[in-house]
Symmetry: C2
Subunit: 151 residues, 2 copies
Amino acid sequence: MDNSYPLINIIYYIMMVNKQDSDARLENFKKVSREHKLPLTPQKLAIFRTLASSCTHPGVSEIYHRVKEEFSNISLATVYKNLKKFADLGLIIEIPIPGDKPRYDAKLDIHSHAVDTADGRVYDLEISTSLPLPDKILGKSVKQAQILYYL
Amino acid sequence: MDNSYPLINIIYYIMMVNKQDSDARLENFKKVSREHKLPLTPQKLAIFRTLASSCTHPGVSEIYHRVKEEFSNISLATVYKNLKKFADLGLIIEIPIPGDKPRYDAKLDIHSHAVDTADGRVYDLEISTSLPLPDKILGKSVKQAQILYYL
DNA sequence: CTCTATGCAAAATATTTGCAAGGGA
DNA sequence: TCCCTTGCAAATATTTTGCATAGAG
């Protein structure tokens, strides 16, 4: 007898970004910037907003080109510097992609990603069963976790 | 009343590599190479063995330097080419690290990794609860999955 | 003998840095 | 005013490629 059928069905949802989400992210961005006494430049806002309102998890270069439509003379270095700073402040998450450049995500709650190896697209994923999340590993607290699924 | 205590205890194991593991990996490597009619050069063997017998999930540069002790004139390009080929053949897994260079792993069964953000070390992790693993997402079959925990 | 692999060097990419000038709070 | 930030260009770092030669099967 074949026992290999799954006992539970995993339900997953592909998440999209709506206006409420991106507005809330932008508010949090401003709040954290104020708390750290960091000036809110138009460039920073444009970079963050591009990310916060996007479903496509863009990388450095795509963010650069999109922001360039508004600020034609923005520098690539500014995009690099800010994405790094945002990640340090916990305002965005870096999604590492095997064999490719990293992508970024302004969705902060712990969730998973599906990477389509055919076209490089990355999707946000919520799953019905919870992610195994230990408090501590090796005595150190777990700061972040993500599952990467490769299709 | 506070319901926030976890209902289950997650048990995890830090996995080490023993000689049986690395020998089995090496055998599989030879078998797959034969199947694809790819010549088994001493350089390839050294690169694969370095990885298969390691607990530290080395990156390109570390593998290069370790193999260089044996083959003093090995080229970095050879290491790049071979790691890419091994990954394509499914002989190794690339572990993408946020903000850092990728690491490699010859352990093939689906498992998780803990990334120590303090020192960059990466550990293999087995956990007592299973990883939520859907067959298909967006109609495409799931080829691989890994959880990354950041400490 | 045939086909892939290797090593080297150059090219292509990607990312970081230093610094003078500008701009938010 | 005081820092932090920006844009530019140069410096680094990383990865890929072309090609002549070597070596595995």
